[in-house]
């Protein structure tokens, strides 16, 4: 199956082991290099909340993770992970709680936006199809 731009914007499902941190999900399951995460993925949403600490945010069965490069606009810039003006959106920021970190096989929806569609879409395509 080929996932086009619209598919990535709306989300592609991956069957993976969940109960891990966002960073582990990205690096271990999706095999995205850490330096790419730090330099190119400026904004990460987990279930609709912008995430600042990807080592403490936990992926669960049914989670949706959305990723973007750096964005324009005051509000776009405010979504940046640990950005200078991210305090502007504290009321919706991902709230790290003591999560149930039970590891299990589950479904995670991955959304890619803007330049990341080209940069990651093809690489992730094969992993999604391999599910």
């Amino acid at each position: 199956m080929i996932f086009d731009s619209l598919s990535w914007q709306e989300g592609v499902e991956f069957k993976v082991r969940v109960g891990c941190s966002v960073r582990d999900f990205l690096t271990k399951h999706l095999e995205i290099p850490n330096d790419f995460i730090e330099n190119r993925i400026a904004i990460i949403f987990l279930d609709g909340s912008p995430v600042d600490d990807i080592d403490r945010a936990i992926i669960k069965n049914g989670s949706c993770i959305a990723m973007s490069s750096q964005m324009p606009g005051l509000v776009g810039a405010a979504m940046t992970r640990k950005g200078l003006i991210s305090p502007l959106r504290t009321s919706i920021s991902y709230d790290v709680k003591k999560e149930d970190t039970k590891e299990e096989v589950g479904i995670v929806k991955v959304k890619l936006f803007n330049t990341l569609i080209k940069e990651l879409g093809q690489v992730l395509q094969s992993k999604a199809n391999a599910n």
Binding site: E10, G48, Q70, A78, L84, L88, I92
Partner: protein, 578 residues
């Protein structure tokens, strides 16, 4: 650019033209100059459509130079929409051309005693003003074609459509782009209605025979400009995201955050967002032979605009901005890019602010005039405005008036002006700016972001209420300063992350004018502009009680985060304490 052109439309025997030196206004440009002239010369309690109001059109300090990104034009007056001072800002060609013609500002004063309509022609060899009633009620595209046939294709135009002539509070002032199309608009606050009240239909600018403005120190200016451009091109936002997808790249992000006002600010997610996103828009433009990367004025290196073709591959409109796609899209429940582009064309043609009209149509939909998601009905409502029917005149007066007429509580306005495309309950920091801006709800009032100016981390905890207030204050100060340079606000992202790019901008100003400005000087300039604007508003009758969001933002939680606006009034009142 050392003179002001004053046109008194109310003189006995017809309009009179006077050119005068800048005098006490020397050193000001763009918003700094429009706000200085309005605050000093316009009685704050005057009626915005009266002879006492003035319309000030000013290029920025660096407009007309070889400096990149310097083509923004400021249009100032007392606003008929908000009753406050107003600066609306536009791209396009006129700012560069006006500056090269040597004008720091055009000031339209007084009011004709007859109902005649005028055009102003400004060339290198002089200024003419002519009566031309044949232009009455011409839409902007037809008007510009007429001007092109009369004055050639080397011109730039500043004009109003029928909405401005009808003095509707949502009327814009149009500026032509590099293709000589009236696609760029000083949209906010009804500045077009004030131009209409002066009965000036169009200002035709022709800079044939002029030269690029020369800096005091050409070598230093060239070097600073080079560093500035390099900084913009290497930054991921100004070098990649904006050129590839335009400002509409924000749709997916703001929607994912649950901050995308949908169905007249009822919820923060729109199910059809991906169908109208910047990514989808850019693909469609390229597929149909349009352009996804395009500058709105010469000298733009970000090129966040584009050209939208219809299904038959013919030009329909420029690439609609994020705010337009949101206002006429998600906020009205419409997920059809062709319909949104069509509405954008008619907004431009009739001369209407796309944000105000989108918000107004959503209010009208809530009132039952049309169903959410009905694109054809939305287009028909815009035509009602263009035709000047009674319903159209209500809609063309903006969201606040429309809500009042139809008995709708949920009017998303501050000081009478519609909020833009970010819900302030989800992003509380922008709510602080909406509430306290001198201009009414305005996302660009606190847009400029430069770490040098913000001094983040140096004063108070940004997570505390005081930190949010300080952040909004510093953003508003920085924005006021950048609005004076003629620079596009989109440079702000490179300035935030790259102090050397911010320094390059200051170096450009210093090299051009022979000054020794520092980051602190920029802060002082921003503060002085805000102070003038605040004083004008206070004299016009505005108090701290006007610096509030509508009550329902404090009481109605918005999904999916189910949050309300929580910033306290006493904290809002501290924004301008410096």
């Amino acid at each position: 650019m050392g003179k002001i052109l004053r046109i008194n439309m109310g003189s006995e025997g017809g309009p009179t033209i006077v050119e005068e030196p800048l005098g006490n206004y020397a050193g000001l440009g763009g918003r700094g100059l429009t706000s200085a002239i309005v605050s000093k010369e316009v009685p704050p309690q005057c009626h915005p459509l009266s002879a006492e109001n003035k319309l000030v059109i000013a290029p920025g300090l660096l407009s007309g130079t070889a400096g990149a990104m310097s083509g923004r034009l400021s249009v100032g007056c007392k606003s008929p929409l908000t009753g406050t001072i107003k600066e609306a800002n536009s791209g396009g060609q006129p700012s560069q051309v006006l500056a090269r013609l040597g004008y720091a500002a055009i000031v339209l004063e007084g009011k004709p005693k007859t109902d005649d309509l005028y055009k102003v022609i400004i060339k290198n060899d002089g200024v003419k003003i002519e009566k031309d009633n044949s232009l009455k009620m011409l839409p902007n595209y037809d008007l510009v074609e007429r001007m092109k046939s009369q004055y050639g294709d080397k011109i730039a135009c500043i004009s109003i459509g029928p909405a401005g002539e009808m003095r509707l509070a949502a009327a814009s002032v149009a500026c032509t782009d590099t293709e000589l199309r009236p696609t760029r608009h000083a949209g906010r606050g009804g500045v077009g209605a004030v131009m209409g009240s002066k009965q000036v239909k169009v200002i035709v600018l022709d800079d044939t025979g002029t030269k690029v403005r020369q800096p005091k120190d050409p070598e230093k200016f060239k070097d600073a400009n080079k560093r500035f451009v390099e900084g913009l091109q290497k930054h991921p936002v100004t070098g990649q995201g904006l050129p590839a997808y335009g400002t509409n790249v924000l749709t997916n992000i703001i929607n994912e955050a649950g901050a995308y006002p949908t169905y007249n600010f009822k919820q923060g997610n729109f199910a059809g967002a991906s169908k109208i996103s910047g990514e989808t828009l850019a693909e469609l433009e390229v597929k149909r032979g349009g352009v996804a990367t395009h500058g709105c004025h010469r000298g733009c290196v970000i090129r966040c605009s584009g050209i939208f073709h219809d299904k038959d591959g013919k030009y329909l409109t420029k690439q609609p901005e994020y705010e337009t796609v949101w206002a006429h899209g998600g906020n009205c429940g419409i997920d059809d890019l062709d319909a949104i582009a069509m509405i954008d064309f008619w907004d431009d043609n009739y001369g209407l602010d796309t944000i105000e009209m989108g918000a107004t149509i959503a209010v009208a939909m809530e009132a039952g005039l049309a169903k959410f998601g009905d694109a054809n009905a939305a287009i028909q409502l815009i035509h009602e405005v263009g035709k000047g029917t009674y319903l159209g005149k209500i809609l063309g007066s903006g969201a606040a008036v429309t809500a009042k007429v139809f008995g709708i509580e949920r009017a998303p306005v501050v000081k009478g002006q519609s909020m833009p495309a970010y819900d302030p309950r989800a992003v509380q920091g922008i709510g602080v700016t909406y509430a306290t801006s001198t201009m009414g709800a305005d996302h660009t009032a606190g847009y400029a972001i430069a770490s040098n100016i913000l001094k983040i981390g140096g004063h108070v905890d940004p997570l505390s209420p005081e930190g949010q207030i300080e952040l909004s204050r510093n953003l508003q100060i920085a924005t006021a300063a950048i609005d004076s340079t003629g620079m596009c606000l989109f440079i702000a992202f490179a300035l935030l992350d790259q102090p050397e790019t911010f320094q390059a901008l200051i170096d450009m100003l210093n090299a051009f004018y022979g000054l020794n400005l520092t980051a602190d000087s920029v802060t002082e300039l921003g503060k002085s502009i805000l102070k003038m604007e605040r004083e004008f508003n206070m004299k016009a009758g505005f108090t701290k009680e006007h610096d509030r969001l509508p009550r329902y933002f404090y009481t109605e939680p918005i999904a999916p985060h189910n949050v309300v606006f929580k910033v306290k009034d006493e904290d809002l009142d501290k924004v301008f304490n410096w």
